[in-house]
């Protein structure tokens, strides 16, 4: 039995210690917002925060998360500036990668209040989007940081 803290709640799982956190979340805790895309840490769809840092849950054995604090897409408040910016910019298309994108963006804004385009490239290039929503993601991050207005123009 492994105990972990997900979105502030204590949870337990009987999954074997080598089971990636992704599959514990999805198949055991039935929290399917975190997505499977590649299983090798190549696409970022499974991104969650572990003690505040963005990590690929598909390559993180649950045994390594014992006692740590996990935040998933379900744990980001609806009013969070990143989610609000995502809505304002109509970022989502198929939407499958977006929970991972949002978690990477939340992590970026936790450490960098006004990220530059180069900061965004660095922080977000591990998250693939087959629908090609990158331009809108970039704008949404600038909006969430207050660097741009919701209509995409630069703030005076």
């Amino acid at each position: 039995m492994i105990e972990l803290k997900v979105n502030g709640k204590r949870m337990q799982t009987v999954a074997s210690v080598d089971t990636p956190l992704l599959w514990v979340l999805r198949d055991h805790l039935k929290m399917t917002g975190t997505k499977y895309g590649c299983g090798e840490g190549l696409c970022g769809a499974c991104t969650v925060l572990i003690d505040g840092k963005p990590e690929r849950s598909c390559i993180t054995p649950v045994g390594d998360v014992r006692g740590k604090s996990v935040t998933t897409i379900e744990g980001i408040p609806e009013q969070h500036p990143v989610k609000q910016a995502w809505l304002a910019q109509e970022v989502s298309q198929c939407g499958y990668c977006q929970p991972g994108q949002i978690m990477s963006a939340v992590a970026l804004l936790n450490t960098s209040k006004k990220p530059s385009d180069a900061d965004i490239d660095r922080a977000m290039s591990g998250n693939l989007c087959r629908c090609g929503t990158y331009g809108r993601i970039r704008t949404a991050i600038h909006v969430a940081s207050g660097r741009k207005t919701a209509r995409g123009g630069k703030k005076p």
Binding site: W23, G33, E40, I73, L87, S92, Q93, G95, T133
Partner: protein
């Protein structure tokens, strides 16, 4: 050109007849039987597409799959415009599989594809909204005992001449008792909702993790399975040993089915861990020596010989054969995987006389029929629920129903409800690719350098051959989807011949976002560029001259050029390339601005796109689809290739099949042409122009002409040496 379009339209109608009898034409069955989707008590359900509830909520039943294109918003907008309801009250509900929800043009099947959803539903859904509006108005007029014609509907209310108001919710019960108007009248005058960037109805669920994709389906008692499939297409299981696999805790069953060996467990991780421990003896079948270089040689040889004629105008041979001045080029494009972010999956539960399937499908009727055959049920005994699709791009609309059939086989063999999940590698290696293409083009030009004769030989596999569509979509051996975009080119070329060699080599192929246009546009637009440069003419003006009789092509070309600043100076080391292409009823031109890294890496900085897709529903969705098509096409132009070695697919995950990432994504500007023309598609037309626009920009930059995709650094360096 108009000839071939008419032909296509006729073919679709005939397809309908072929696939099950009974033509389905929009005007014959405008909006379905009343209550086809059973309404809740206290709801007004005037037709199969709409429910109005006493709580004022408006539910639009959507018969198209949401795979990113925003159709769960666009189709409700069509209904809401005519209904005159409050858009904030509108909800969507995916439709079940029923004849009412069949495609209005593609025959009696429920299908999402061909960039056809808005085009094919515009009329039917407008009428569905108008009919309900008329019934609500009549209900209110009867309440007030005044003439219906004196009342109007607006923003969810019926309003009397004196200003009295009754809400749609309050009128729902009464309206439900009225006869459905036979000939509802569409609103005259200005549109309120159409043409506005209404917010997507599916966005909230997609940012909080509640949107359910096929892979998210959870049912009590369900097992999760992975399948060990043959390493070579057409292979079969001879024998297997599962002793070690079964020792993994949580593994419930290991069984062989036609598709391979199924490993079913309590969760995905256990199943895929156990699969690695299987020992399987395969009969690899006849394709175990398949290799990309050998295919390339075969295709190149074929391209030297005449193919079946897909289009002929004038006498191209007379100008080209034995003409030492002719200009020749070969363009090659590899197999491509759809690589949707959500790997394939399918949930199936079977009982003695019923079944339940939940998955993301673009081809529900076909998938359900295939499932029924395998399960030994009637199609109507199977409930087929469409989830969100984590990308489609054609892969989930397979005439062979591959991922559905094997899940039904698995559920049958296991005797338990099961969700079959593909790993990324399974998804990449299991086939159904955009075909590999080899194109040989020759041209002779007049004194000014404009094409006098043009011969294009296409070599590659037919997507349609062997499917139920073959009898109508393959004519005299020509699969139209192999040559579309070339055989129906709008360019003015007096002597034109397009020929086709259809190959057969065991690789499962399928439509891939923009289908044939994904390769023909690269050939047409690259070679046109070459001819322009050979003539010493500006490639933009050269195209304009050849499209003089095609105002819509011309307009997008001019708009893209103007907005991109065509001809204006750029920073050192950058250049622009242009391309224009017409498909799925829409016209798109793109200007790409590129630079080249030292190692030969192409960097695309900016893309300016102009689109004419006729009348618009939601301009923001159109912009999003253009942005999407450009990035999708750019991944193929720069990185995408599926290759074979000893029958095996060499790629497996995103390291070997890379996609454009944030750092490589260009800035994109989209300009929509104001138009009152018939609506065109938007899901696919953004894809074809980007690869040639980038290749043409590269040529403008340094004279390197890359004619083989993807434009890897090696290919760019080699083209530079020849420049």
């Amino acid at each position: 050109m108009s000839k071939s379009k008419d032909l296509t339209r006729r073919q679709f109608i005939k397809t309908g007849a072929l696939l099950g009898g009974g033509l389905v034409v929009a005007c014959h069955l405008p909006f379905g039987r009343r209550n086809a989707q059973a309404a809740q008590q206290g709801e007004f359900a005037p037709n199969a597409f709409l429910r109005i509830s006493q709580d004022e909520s408006i539910t639009v039943i959507v018969n198209k799959s949401e795979m990113g294109q925003g159709i769960y918003t666009s189709l409700p907008m069509l209904v809401a415009e005519e209904l005159c309801c409050d858009w904030k009250k509108v909800r969507f509900l995916p439709s079940p599989v029923a004849p009412e929800y069949n495609h209005t043009q593609f025959g009696p099947i429920m299908v999402t594809g061909g960039s056809s959803s808005v085009r094919s539903e515009w009329s039917r859904l407008s009428l569905a909204g108008a009919a309900a509006r008329e019934m609500l108005i009549t209900a209110a007029a009867q309440t007030w005992n005044i003439a219906p014609a004196s009342c109007k509907a607006e923003n969810g209310f019926v309003v009397s001449p004196s200003g009295a108001k009754l809400s749609f919710g309050k009128l729902a019960d009464k309206a439900a008792m009225l006869p459905v108007p036979k000939d509802p009248q569409l609103k005259a005058g200005k549109k309120n909702l159409l043409g506005t960037p209404a917010k997507r109805l599916d966005s909230p669920a997609k940012i909080n993790g509640t949107a359910i994709f096929g892979i998210d389906v959870q049912e009590p008692g369900m097992l999760t399975a992975v399948i060990a499939r043959p390493p070579v297409f057409g292979g079969k299981v001879v024998s297997f040993n599962a002793d070690k696999a079964k020792a993994i805790p949580g593994v419930r069953s290991v069984v062989a089915i036609e598709a391979g060996v199924v490993v079913a467990a309590d969760d995905f991780w256990q199943a895929q861990k156990a699969r690695k421990l299987l020992s399987i003896t395969w009969d690899e079948g006849v394709w175990s020596s398949l290799s990309t270089p050998a295919m390339h040689e075969q295709y190149a040889r074929l391209a030297e010989t005449p193919g079946l004629v897909a289009r002929t105008e004038g006498d191209a041979a007379a100008h080209l054969d034995n003409n030492p001045e002719k200009i020749e080029a070969v363009f090659e494009m590899p197999y491509l995987a759809h690589a949707a972010m959500e790997p394939l999956n399918c949930f199936v539960a079977l009982k003695k006389d019923s079944g339940l399937i939940r998955t993301g499908s673009q081809f529900q009727t076909v998938d359900r029929a295939a499932a029924a055959r395998v399960a030994g049920l009637q199609p109507e005994q199977i409930v087929f629920e469409t989830t969100f699709l984590g990308g489609g791009f054609g892969r989930r609309g397979n005439p062979a129903s591959d991922f559905v059939i094997e899940a039904v086989q698995a559920a049958k063999a296991l005797g338990r409800p099961v969700k079959v999940v593909y790993t990324r590698e399974d998804d990449m290696k299991s086939g159904y690719y955009r075909p590999m293409w080899y194109n040989r083009v020759e041209a002779a030009v007049d004194k000014k350098g404009f094409p006098l004769a043009w011969r294009h030989r296409v070599v590659g596999q037919s997507i349609i051959a062997g499917t139920a569509f073959e009898p109508v979509l393959v004519k005299n051996g020509i699969d139209h989807t192999s040559v579309e975009g070339a055989s129906d080119t709008p360019y003015s070329i007096p002597n034109l011949q397009v020929e086709l060699h259809s190959t057969a080599n065991g690789v499962p192929v399928l439509w891939w976002r923009s289908v044939g246009h994904s390769h023909t546009a690269f050939v047409m637009e690259s070679f046109m560029d070459e001819l322009a440069h050979k003539a010493g003419l500006d490639p933009y003006r050269y195209r304009c001259a050849l499209l003089a009789k095609h105002p819509r092509n011309l307009k997008v070309l001019q708009t893209a050029a103007e907005k991109a600043g065509w001809g204006k100076p750029l920073p050192k080391g950058r250049a622009r390339g242009i391309a224009v292409h017409e498909c799925f009823g829409s016209y798109v031109a793109q200007v790409a601005e590129v630079s080249l890294g030292k190692s030969g890496t192409v960097k695309v900085h900016r893309v300016v796109c102009a689109v004419d897709c006729g009348r618009t529903v939601n301009p923001d969705t159109i912009k999003a689809q253009m942005e999407s098509g450009i990035i999708f096409g750019l991944s193929a132009a720069l990185y995408g290739a599926i290759t074979f070695k000893i029958g095996r697919v060499e790629q497996g995950n995103f390291d070997s099949y890379p996609l454009v990432r944030m750092s490589a994504a260009p800035r994109i500007e989209v300009h929509i042409i104001d138009s009152n023309e018939e609506p065109g598609g938007v899901g696919e037309p953004g894809v074809p122009p980007i690869a040639p626009a980038v290749a043409n920009a590269l040529f403008a930059l340094n004279g390197a002409r890359v004619r083989t995709l993807p434009m890897t650094p090696e290919r760019v360096r080699s083209a530079l040496k020849k420049a």
